[in-house]
Symmetry: C2
Subunit: 426 residues, 2 copies
């Protein structure tokens, strides 16, 4: 066992992200438990069964405007206003010849009617309404079944239930769905230097003594909660560089978590512990070292079908490893066929960039000639340890390996947009 541990100590070959991902996927279990939930409670979760239309949509013809329901074949003409129907009421009559009914947007139209004339285009004279043009069939009307037929699949299995879907499904009268339960993630931050953020009076002293405020776990947890809604963070804890304590904690977390992230302790030094965890927990080390910069020591092991991923102790490097490797792995485990949108945009590179291995590059964003431009911060602020520079930047370029010229398109993870950019939406 000792030999094995030493084998794991140094990062020898950097594994391409794609390879690491395939190695992990072939060894981990996917979520199988399903649950039936009211739609808003299922927001962000993955559909385990397709959702079908419970009836034709709309179930009968509906008005799409405030005005007069008529038989289009009778226009132009003069019509007796038989009744007023407002949304929420169901007309129980059929229009007779020469009759119209006042309807409001969204109300069912009476039998016989096949068009609605906006009230601005009609003229009322006492109990009559005059329509002086030829109205088309189904003008300002949503015919029965035009949006969906009973039994149609409205949204397929494996898709995330987004608020947009919920709005659409509730409108169709679907109130529940069958989803996979959320993927449970536990986060263990390690490091003797860590101290919590809630001690402002002590921060100055602790930092002078070499302390570091623990942020990596909260940062990754925030990202997962914001952009991977099919996951739930069940725990975020900080522990010292103590192999026994960390192994004890991870083992207990694995009773409930589907995936555990260990931040820090991924280096090769004597106080680093990730390379000793597989021996301690009886797990299999699957890969050690990713071919990226900022997250290079990212490592993966599997314990009884559950991944334990070692991420850098530096917040941005940890997030980089998370986005490259953990994000697609969670998507696989959660049975996803589509992902929620990440705040990742295309931008034009403002200066050239030599990228030895895929890495996050801190950048300013600005808006020029209708396009988003990413300008990398100066070289020395790109170090993993230059965290304060995140406050100077607006985004992180997810730079790919290779030489990139000014003018080239790159993907940026944007956390701040400038006022100018907003105007593109005005």
């Amino acid at each position: 066992m000792q030999a094995l541990k030493e084998d794991y100590r140094y990062v020898k070959t950097l594994v391409p992200v794609e390879t690491a991902l395939e190695l992990m996927k072939s060894r981990v279990s996917r979520i199988a438990e399903k649950m039936r939930v009211p739609l808003w409670e299922g927001q962000g979760l993955v559909l385990a069964e397709p959702v079908r239309a419970p009836h034709d949509m709309p179930p009968r013809p509906k008005s799409a405007y405030d005005g007069y329901a008529v038989r289009s074949e009778e226009t132009p003409g003069r019509f007796r206003i038989r009744e007023k129907i407002t949304i929420g009421e169901v007309p129980d009559f059929t229009l007779g010849p020469g009759e119209a009914a006042y309807v409001t947007t969204g109300s069912y139209i009476p039998g016989g009617a096949d068009a609605v004339v906006p009230e601005e285009k009609a003229r009322v004279e006492g109990d009559y309404v005059i329509i002086d043009y030829k109205v088309g069939k189904w003008d300002y009307v949503d015919p029965a079944g035009v949006y969906a037929r009973k039994g149609d699949i409205l949204i397929g299995e494996g898709r995330i239930l987004t608020p947009f879907d919920i709005v659409g499904l509730l409108d169709a009268g679907v109130t529940e769905a069958v989803v996979y339960r959320p993927l449970r993630i536990g986060i263990v931050q390690t490091g003797n230097e860590l101290f919590p953020a809630f001690t402002p009076d002590q921060a100055e002293r602790r930092i002078r003594e070499g302390g570091v405020i623990a942020t990596t776990g909260d940062f990754v947890a925030w990202f997962a909660q914001s952009f991977l809604p099919y996951t739930t963070i069940i725990d975020t804890v900080a522990l010292p560089d103590d192999l026994n304590a960390v192994a004890w904690y991870v083992e207990r977390l694995l009773d409930y978590a589907d995936l555990v992230l260990v931040t820090g302790g991924t280096g090769p030094s004597e106080i680093d512990l990730f390379y000793r965890l597989p021996g301690k927990l009886g797990g299999e080390l699957v890969f050690r070292g990713l071919r990226v910069i900022g997250g290079k020591p990212t490592s993966g092991m599997v314990v009884e079908g559950k991944p334990v991923i070692g991420l850098s102790g530096y917040p941005l490097s940890a997030l980089h490893g998370f986005i490259r490797l953990v994000y697609p792995l969670t998507a696989y485990m959660a049975n996803l066929k589509s992902q929620p949108a990440l705040p990742v945009y295309k931008a034009i590179l403002a200066s050239n960039l030599k990228v030895k291995r895929a890495r996050p590059i801190k950048a300013k964003l600005y808006y020029k000639d209708g396009g988003l431009v990413a300008e990398p911060l100066r070289h020395e602020l790109q170090k993993s340890s230059a965290l304060v520079a995140l406050a100077y930047a607006d985004a992180v370029i997810l730079a790919e390996e290779g030489e990139h010229e000014p003018g080239e398109e790159v993907l940026v993870l944007a956390y701040r947009l400038t006022r100018r950019l907003l105007r593109a939406l005005d």
Copy 2:
């Protein structure tokens, strides 16, 4: 007063969004109240004062790797390992000639040292370490003050405090910030037809009777909570089409809310109430009707410096009015100089699009030749009432007025990305 109400009833001229926005901005108050908060509690809020560096960053030279701290001028050479320093400790000695110290990533290096040699590049022989190449000054070291000098502005007033900033500021030992209090939004949904989503057994019956599950308020509230973190939704209520009840409720909301949204009731019909609210509340009607489709009846009034905005009763149309008008208005009221990222992307249009006035177009998204492509759903599914089609789509094109050709770039509000798209991040 009666005459005035009738004046307001019909939408006569559609006001360009920019004009409506300027009219509203010139009449409303901005948030002035400030509060000092721990950073994580200030997440998403707007900085009311710039944040300055409390000390040089780093305060003294730090190692950026696990290895041996040395005086670079003495390399190559053989060095006595004087001590081991791990992160969280502060070395209280200065390296003598021919001495090295073992350091781990992030630990302060001893006095005299100006470089770190990665342990993989060094050879240990008993108490000595052999370094066989010339090491550069500050190699694998972050010199004192390299990231920030004491008193430097780290992040300016008017910026949103994002999790990325928080990570950077906490690393610099900043634990609190002065922010503006959140902008308070109240939402009043109106409509006799509305019923809540939590009655699955009754939904089928109520829909056949002309009922509609209330979603517009929750949908807009979700958007604000997700993408406008400097706002807080203080209330979301549904009321019938009863002018007195709605006016009574809005008046009380305005005691605390900075902005009130009224959804539905923005049409010109007899049961519509927004056009009668200014008279009832003693407010000023500022504009009536926006030059957009999907949100056309959007209207704005001001009561004692506070905006009351009427949005469409249709969820997607309400969201469109919100994104075009309310989003920039809240940014102004909240003193923002930058915005958080919205999930809005550039995509290539797959088919031609004639757009009479700016409107949301439901679209499928797919990935082709490295780019995102938006393909509008068929014409009849584009109606405001075709809500179920949101489940068929992946995004909403924020289409601008004019004729758009296939291949043209458009902005899309994406709520679902395909599996293929994700691979762009692998």
